[in-house]
Symmetry: D2
Subunit: 416 residues, 4 copies
């Protein structure tokens, strides 16, 4: 008699293999799930391993398209960024993975979901909050928060010993002294030697970008076309032209990879109240975000932009980071994002070179907001400079009172 | 009998020389003022020219120190940025220049202030709002908003003709096909050929940075030390060490210059309701801002940072851009900036290379917020992972209700 | 030959009658327009007067329904309020009036619009910004900002003299020592004796509410039903039941009127940079807003509410106050308002008594957010109190570090 | 041998008496603590009871002055309000009580703190977050979250049985069918019959206010004087004049009480993710807050007010509600509150009548922001109406482009 049916997020690594075996040993039936969100993986090997360890089934699904179109494009549309630096790569993929895992669980009659996330990180929160919104009555097994499990596996040696006992194959490649999470958007690196925030990440760490020092000595030119804030076409100097969402994103990744664009090394604030150090390489999204900001400069109304930047962008990024994707507030904010992008159409010419992406020029057929005539310092046909006099005078009313009050208080502004 | 005493912001160029002569011809007595905020200039030549044209006096003041310490350091402390890209170079200098001009006017019994700004730009607004706060009863002559003046000088040819008539010396160097504004922080480029937002700025335009392509093939390493959010020391790989505020900023400028750091090319929204295209190179401030953000990651409380980012930084940047430096709201916001920086002490190791600055590591003696022990995925001494279970459960309450409501409405989140 | 065709906002009062005559005397052809937005007026009399004075046509349109449904209901949906007190009555009506006047102008081939607003107030701004958005090429005649007009009419006596000369009938009722603006939503009182902010408004000033002291000694009970945040039905203790939007609003006005609900007396900040004192009675909207807030408490998600309150409500109110109704930012914000109200269904039992409206109870069939079971302190079926322990522990992490840092700095929080 | 020394928040009621006895029975030594924050209480009786039950000591401290001056005045200074209605009464007192309890614990060598709050409420969070910030290494016993305790005491009958067994005296007054929390600022009512949000609170519930229906038929007049945003003097129509902070607040409470001012009945969102229904009567603070808002209208700069309202007020209220008083973010925000109040000096004439407080007039000697001259529609000495023309024209630039774009898109604003 099984204790219950569990759908486990299974990666094929030592941790989740241990959890898989442990769940089976505890008497559960386990269906394994692995999402393809663009990471490098030997999919057949993972499946073989899961089944060999006793999983009832191994489900592997390609979620790249929904990942890009539902979440990554939304991030681009709102220029999402967390704490000025982090483009949210891991946070973007989690909801898509979590939703798919819930579907797989439901299709396979599993009423328990499980993952191998640690008890101090963001990802456990992101998975479980998503699961509970998606399937409010779901049960969760988070082994790294179960006292007996933690007691049993106090370090890597305990895992290796358990693997030996239970015939869990262990990769012969030595483990990198940090942990990684990879998807179409980025690869993250944390823990291990990176826990010293003053330890520079070694050259071999970065997986999705070449070292800028090793990047080509020649810039590479390309153009991104946006419609409603979404990149719909990329054309490169060597005549590549892509329009498919996933292919387009992969092309931007390739450009960013080859030219070393999008490396970030930060100390960030986890939802859980701790600071942690993370390194990220995010080639394509860094480029797409820059291009999108540039087009918005040309075609977006300034006041809409102000409101969007201050409230919508900041809120959406925080919601994603904190695992609140399936929430009323994310739905609320996302409705604003989409509305704000109605007229964000245009193209931006860019180049990548030695660690950087640059905008070289931009244009749009559909917006009347930028006008060379208006902007020109030489032309007065569409603008009466006398109006500015009144504009300044009215804006000065408050400031003059402020200056007068300071004088009355014996602290004239001009003397400070 | 003079019509009045005017203090004119005089640069020595064709525009302000014309205005100087025109004011004199109109019957005013003119005291010229030029602020040294770090731009390249032949100061003696300007003085000679002003006096030759009939100015009663030419006052040139070195404001670099107050510029750096009162405004630039504040910008660093709040990571100021306008519309995601622009570091506000021109806006930062204006209040310091305006205040000094008011002082010079008062010392020289001028009750009229004048400038040569165009009637469509931000700078007229910044100057005049500052003047009216600083000296509420001041009168302003803005020739480029006076109908007769505009009618008289309809293009550069009219200026040249007037120069000829009035013995105004005209520089033999041909005028660049764009206009520039330079100070210690940046050089801006706009108008002319740049009015086409799809016209890439030519290689020779950038004054304060070398082209990344021409930058050295070797990265350059240095460390910035911060106290209360202010850079107080820079030490470089070749043993330079500076602590003086202006010298420190110039050293960062030099590093940025040599390695091509800090070029920006955008279409921005002017206060005046128009969009305009601007290019900026801002070497030192780009580096200092990045270093400051990095140290804050290590030592600043996450919730204070959230509030500071969303409200203080955005407000301060907008106030500076719009010329509202001498305002109750800037004073209000600045009080928060300073308070937020009390514990922002630490140092950041950086490198500059081919158009980019990178952070390599950071440390702080005075903050307990980052702890390797806490952050470590391997250590559970200071953290009970079981607490996270409760944390997630409580945070999930709302989300479960949301998921249940969606199911009840026939739109289960898992199916969308 | 006419100088041009003007569409004038004409009220029948001395000011706009003078302007009508003056425009005609200046050589314009004038079409008069008056919007019925619920104010008390002798419509026939106004028409007769306009035609007698020489208007080509007098157009009077009943805009009450679009006023209520397009703007007032939106204000209710977002609980709009300006500076904590003012419910925006005048600002709400202006866009509807302005739009209708533009339509009338277009139908009557008038390319000039005119109004009788003073040059120091908000209303000129609201009218003209709306007109310019609605008909970007329109010309405006604002007599109270034309130097010759101002010079000619320096006080009421000049107006009376001109009236006499030009056979403009002058009402025999003495003018109140303040000015008023009335519509379905409120009546505003400002200027005159009210310019002293310490002068209490006299008892006879208030038009739309009885003095609370004179209100009935018995409370009056009624229930408001909301759908998607809009009041769709009111049922009263004496069995009145209304569902038509305008009738419903009038009923709430009647209840508020009779019981003295909704008087406000404030000093507010005009868009134009000045402070001014305004008194307002706003019976029905005060009641509807209170009821709406109450239903939202029951059925709206807390995080959506936070975002809506802080960003949407504040922005919408400011936009309306400043005359930015026809703007991209209002359109942007309004999209959020409507989205936020999808599930705001429910009913609130209220009573009005002696100057106040009270909520007595509320219910909703369609929301699962409030649950007696969940809320009950006695029931633990749906809630594990142990979860709270983890929730508190995680939330305390930052605070403990803060406390420790204060101790290390010699300023323990417990000693302060 | 004692299991440890506990400092228990003890009220003398059945719940905390049970906890006291239970702790002793479990082997702890208990020091009881009760804060006088203005509630009605028989202090001697509580002390006698605690000692009779076996407490080592009963410490009762009068915290009214620090409560009013440190927290309540701050709430007034920022017009604090939660979810549009709740004046935060309970949340305001908690930090003061928590801090005092920590001090008492430290003075009495107790390293464990305990309270009798339920596991579903806000107060447990507020107490414990404060304790952990104040004394980061403190241990907490929260009996209502201990499984054995909950199992033992499943309802009031279990408590009564335990009381009988352990000689805990039980009050003969029947328990009200709701729970209450009282302090100088308010009395709160929740749970029991109030859990039905459509059940109107019975007349006898309200403790700190008379029913408006029973309030005097005559308004009562008084004046509040503010300095730096703090009420420093109240003078009444019957010549009472108070300046002491606690006495002043009690006088406002008395006025509010007698005239039925400050009743609120809402469904609110707890920090813990649940909605709950609360009723509050808050007589004095309702009046003081209204008076303060009114004076700010007269003397506070509009842009400072905008920033304060949108960011500071909302943040402070949320921080207090969520128990984040002893936090870096509250300290950060409070610094802004105090700065914003530097010039908030003035007096407001008010009256209370039948459930409401009204402002009748206000004045200030120290502010130049309101000027009758400026505000007057008749005076043009300090204001040129022509300036408004330019102001409108510049503000219209964006709106005209918006209108033009709509026309180009076939959706002219005037036709919608």
């Amino acid at each position: 008699m099984t204790k219950g049916r569990v759908c486990l997020a299974y990666s094929g690594g030592l941790d989740t293999s241990t959890i898989l075996k442990w769940l089976i040993n505890e008497g559960y039936t386990v269906v394994c799930f692995l999402a393809n969100v663009g990471q490098e993986e030997d999919w057949d090997e993972v499946e073989k391993k899961a089944l060999a360890l006793g999983a009832e089934k191994m489900v592997i699904l390609d979620l790249q398209k929904e990942f890009v179109e539902e979440v990554v494009f939304r991030a681009i549309q709102c220029n999402a960024i967390y704490e000025d630096r982090y483009l949210l790569g891991t946070s973007l993929a989690r909801p898509i993975i979590a939703r798919s895992q819930v579907r797989v669980a439901q299709e396979n009659n599993c009423d328990i979901l499980s993952h191998g996330c640690t008890g101090k990180g963001n990802d456990q929160v992101r998975f479980e909050l998503a699961w509970k919104a998606l399937a409010p009555s779901v049960k969760v097994i988070a082994p790294w928060r179960i006292p007996e499990f933690i007691a049993k596996f106090q370090g890597r040696n305990d895992l290796l010993a358990y693997a030996k006992e239970n015939n869990i194959p262990v990769s012969s490649t030595p483990k990198a002294p940090w942990s990684m999470d990879e998807n179409l958007v980025h690869c993250s690196y944390e823990a291990g030697i990176l826990e010293d925030p003053d330890h520079t990440p070694p050259k071999e760490l970065w997986k999705m970008t070449v070292d800028p020092i090793d990047a080509p000595d020649k810039p590479y030119h390309f153009t991104i076309f946006f419609e409603k804030g979404i990149p719909v076409k990329v054309v490169t100097e060597d005549k590549k032209e892509v329009t498919d969402s996933v292919e387009l994103f992969k092309l931007l990744n390739k450009i960013g990879h080859d030219h070393g664009v999008g490396r970030v090394d930060i100390v960030e604030n986890r939802f859980i109240g701790l600071k942690s150090r993370g390194c990220y390489d995010t080639p394509g999204l860094t480029i797409a975000r820059l291009g999108h900001i540039d087009v918005e400069g040309l075609v977006m109304d300034s006041k809409v932009r102000e409101l969007r930047d201050q409230f919508v962008t900041i809120s959406w990024a925080r919601q994603l980071y904190n695992g609140m994707y399936f929430s009323p507030e994310r739905e609320f904010v996302e409705n604003s994002i989409i509305f704000s992008q109605q007229n964000v159409n245009g193209q931006v010419r860019m180049m990548a070179y030695k660690g950087n992406a640059y905008t070289l020029g931009r244009s749009s057929d559909s917006s009347n907001l930028y006008s060379e005539e208006d902007a020109s310092m030489d032309s007065l046909d569409t603008f009466s400079p006398l109006d500015t006099t009144g504009f300044i005078a009215i804006n000065a009313i408050r400031l003059q009172k402020y200056g007068e009050a300071k004088i009355a208080q014996g602290q004239p502004l001009a003397k400070q």
